[in-house]
């Protein structure tokens, strides 16, 4: 029986913010666009983003300029970012945010009626445009409505398992409908991967089931390079109780609004963990921090410096981990985060979904008492290596944007920079893919051998009869990654993890599932596991290679940042012809003198 086939110019895989923004741009450039997503439209992980979108609009503090945003991003990324990406991001984010307003988004307002901006960790000025603490919902709904009214074809609840390539690069993609299990083929002149992150490689994560590293793995299989895979962001504040919601995100906006971190002895421990070289950017006393909060809650600035809780995420995560490890944690293994000293109605207005989340899921009223929080796997800085201008990967016609692309955030991402990243590079990548499709004279040749192999792989777990349960394999992988490749890493653990991953991979061909093809979650998980094993190996091998500590990557056996040895290079992962994984390094892209000057003493 012939496979259901939908030829397009540009196929976008993933309908979170990056995928939607890419699809809108490609369609506007005249390309015929197909947009594929694993879930229903509007449910992608962008919807979970809470705190805001970073853009130097200068509405609250007119001193904020793209140059400062660039510097903050590079400093936060420990100077490992692709400087051109960080520049484009800082320059273009304000226009991309204003464009959302043009498409119907309704952001919170300043007193003079413009888009309000809030402070966030690592940002020198109040910079995050937001809607309470549901900014991601506002963004995805705005982009979804724009995409739908532009007439883009959306293929919901559809999983891509293979990017098909030929002599001229990308030729399309193969996948299946989750609702029926039937295969589907998308011949395409360009493919944009916008599949998000990899959080499901870990047990404790803020990510949903969708975050299985699909784009990373599809690109790797197609021959593209991944970079910076050792850098996984552990967000400092996830819920730690009850067990069913362990890992669920507690927005950084709680700290942006003045939330204080304390250990079980009531000590405000972040004072101890501020890096010496940045200590002068933070308040010196509780009193100064309090003055800063009072000004911030009125949408004003003051001469007070920001509270120590607004240090970068990598630093706050390590601090919390250390407090708990040294016996100063709360009964459920976290620390306290307290915003209840501010007026209750202010807290409910600025953090409505946090208020509901704790009230409904943990029986905690955050206006009356502290939350319990601990680190949770949140975001991968590493991803598909792309060209800064167009988002094209190292494979012709294969593009990537958003979390699954690498380079923009270096060794650590600042809060709020992911939403701006997906807008800026979503748009650039959509334009890049449309231009590529337009410039291609040949019709994509879809290799029937790759298609029939993909079909066989799809059917195999259903036909195997007896075998291993995919859920059990996933639990083992997640537990192992959390234990051996977590916040603090060491040579022996990483070596052990590489061995464990090889053993788990050897069990993949034995996975068997019962039931049929119609909406069968056990069967769907098989293909996600394959991807998770690829990204887990990439993370582990890259972490083993980088013998220093920098940003989100902390080595117990190499606790110092080694600027001379590692400051000028990114880790690179690619697939060898024999299918094994090669890890190497590549020199950091060159930085113009103009940009270097902006970094001042930081470089």
């Amino acid at each position: 029986m012939p496979i259901e086939t939908h030829p397009v110019d540009v196929l976008v895989v993933g309908a979170g913010g990056a995928g939607l923004r890419a699809a809108i741009e490609a369609q506007a450039a005249g390309a015929k666009v197909g947009l594929v997503c694993k879930s229903l439209l509007g449910k992608a992980h962008t919807v979970m983003a809470e705190g805001g979108v970073a853009a130097a609009m200068g509405h609250v503090d007119p001193l904020d300029k793209w140059q400062t945003h660039f510097r903050d991003t590079m400093v936060g990324g420990k100077l490992l970012n692709n400087p051109r990406m960080a520049q484009l991001h800082a320059q273009e984010a304000p226009d991309r945010v204003r464009e959302l307003e043009l498409w119907g988004a309704v952001f919170d307002r300043t007193q003079d009626g413009r888009i309000l901006q809030r402070p966030f960790g690592g940002h020198s000025h109040p910079r995050l445009a937001h809607v309470g603490d549901r900014t991601g919902l506002e963004m995805i709904r705005t982009l979804q409505d724009r995409a739908v009214s532009s007439g883009i074809d959306v293929f919901m609840e559809c999983t891509i398992t293979k990017v098909i390539t030929g002599a001229n690069g990308v030729a399309g993609a193969f996948g299946y409908w989750r609702t029926t299990g039937a295969p589907v083929l998308f011949p395409a002149k360009a493919v944009v991967l916008a599949t998000g992150g990899i959080g499901k490689a870990y047990t404790v994560t803020s990510n949903s089931w969708e975050y299985s590293g699909d784009g990373h793995a599809l690109a790797y299989d197609a021959g593209a390079e991944l970079i910076d895979m050792e850098f996984v962001q552990f967000h400092p504040t996830g819920m730690v109780w009850p067990p069913g919601v362990k890992g669920l995100l507690v927005t950084e906006a709680v700290r942006g609004e003045g939330g204080i971190l304390r250990n079980k002895d009531g000590e405000r421990f972040m004072w101890k963990y501020l890096p010496e070289e940045r200590r002068n950017e933070y308040a010196a006393t509780d009193e100064e921090a309090k003055r800063w909060v009072e000004a911030a809650s009125k949408g004003q600035t003051s001469d007070a410096r920001r509270p120590p809780e607004l240090s970068t995420r990598d630093n706050v995560s390590r601090a919390i981990y250390t407090e708990v490890k040294e016996g100063r944690g709360t009964p459920h293994g976290g620390v306290f985060l307290d915003i209840s000293y501010l007026p209750a109605d202010h807290v409910r207005r600025k953090l409505p979904s946090m208020y509901d989340q704790f009230k409904e899921l943990a029986d905690v009223d955050i206006t009356k008492g502290p939350m319990e929080v601990g680190p949770t796997t949140h975001y991968v800085m590493g991803g598909i290596r792309v060209d800064a201008e167009t988002g094209e990967s190292t494979v012709s016609g294969l593009f990537a944007a958003g979390e699954c692309a690498g380079g923009m955030h270096g060794a650590n991402r600042l809060g709020g920079n992911s939403l701006s990243d997906l807008l800026v590079f979503g748009a650039r990548t959509g334009a890049g893919a449309a231009a590529h499709a337009k410039g291609r004279r040949d019709q994509p040749y879809v290799d029937p051998v790759q298609v029939s192999t993909s079909e066989r792989e799809l059917a195999a777990p259903l036909e195997r009869g007896a075998g291993e349960d995919p859920y059990a394999l996933q639990r083992e992988l997640q537990e192992m990654m959390g234990r051996l490749v977590g916040i603090f890493r060491v040579d022996g653990d990483l070596q052990e993890a590489i061995g464990e991953i090889a053993k788990l991979r050897a069990r993949l061909p034995n996975l068997a599932v019962r039931g049929g093809r119609v909406y069968n979650p056990g069967w769907n998980l098989v293909f996600e596991l394959r991807n998770l094993l690829i990204v887990s190996e990439a993370i582990t091998r890259s972490a083993l290679q980088r013998t220093e500590s920098r940003g989100a990557h902390s080595r117990l056996d190499f606790p110092e940042t080694d600027q001379a040895g590692w400051g000028d290079r990114n880790g690179v992962v690619r697939r060898r012809a024999d299918g094994s994984m090669e890890v190497a390094t590549t020199e950091l892209p060159a930085m113009s003198d103009e940009l270097r000057a902006l970094l001042g003493g930081a470089h």
């Binding site: 879930s39 229903l40 439209l41 509007g42 449910k43 992608a44 992980h45 919807v47 979970m48 204003r98 307003e101 043009l102 498409w103 119907g104 309704v106 919170d108 307002r109 009626g113 413009r114 309000l116 809607v131 309470g132 549901r134 919902l137 506002e138 709904r141 409505d145 724009r146 739908v148 009214s149 959306v154 919901m156 609702t179 949903s208 089931w209 969708e210 109780w241 009850p242 067990p243 069913g244 919601v245 669920l248 995100l249 509901d356 989340q357 409904e360 899921l361 029986d363 349960d469 995919p470 639990r475 599932v513 019962r514 049929g516 119609v518 909406y519 069968n520 979650p521 056990g522 069967w523």
Partner: protein, 284 residues
Amino acid sequence: MTEAHIAHLKVFRGEPGGATRYDEFDVPVEEGMVILDALHWIQGNAAPDLAVRWNCKAAKCGSCSGEVNGKPRLMCKTRISDLDLDEPITVEPMRSFPLVRDLVSDVSWNYEVNKSIQAFTPPAGLPQEEWRWQQQDIERVQEYRKCIECFLCQDVCHVLRNHETEKPFMGPRFLVRTAGLEMHPIDEGDRRGYLKDTGNIGYCNITKCCTEVCPEHIKITDNAIIPLKERVADEFYDPIQWAWRKLRGKPAAGAAGTPLPMLQGGSASDAPAAAKGDKPTSEG
């Protein structure tokens, strides 16, 4: 483990056209557990092919809608400790929509309705640099925009659930979306004709069931539907407006456009005898 720490779940299983049934599972209860946790336990330990749609598990995405003991609920937000564990807990898909399999229903009709709504229409002559709105002027619109599209309001709406109307009805979710556009401080679109003749707003007889099930606590009936009904009534049923239009030969505002598809039969008709005819009860 004592009896008190076990939840007995009766889970709807099956596909359209085939025999459907309720499978029973005994699930060990952990502190703070929600229905979705129990379903994940079942997938991981007893029935790996149990179909459940979910994403964020934090009541932010609106994917895991279903009916728990006959009540439309987000399964990630339904605490097991709030239910009577002496009785079996019945878990079913949203019944107003066609069945895909087990707890998953086909909600694609909603996406078709959404396409028919005129998008945000800002004034052509007002440069964006001059857009200025006060926070209090947008709080109502922000309330509508809190909607997470769980479609529980569509599921509970008796107009949609009974499948008995002659013409299609857009349902509360899309009245909320339309209200968000109509009441945007600078939107210039006019959707009144569409509301009356395409969305058939007249079918809503304001029983407020939708408001009661909304997990985002949007006052759907009072704050969205009734103001829209008033706008439609002012335009079409006000005798002065009517006479004025006749006099000037102007058509009524907000052209209707092509008709919406009808929502096809829900899975209530596939239900085994035990659950058939159950009316959903919303929570007061």
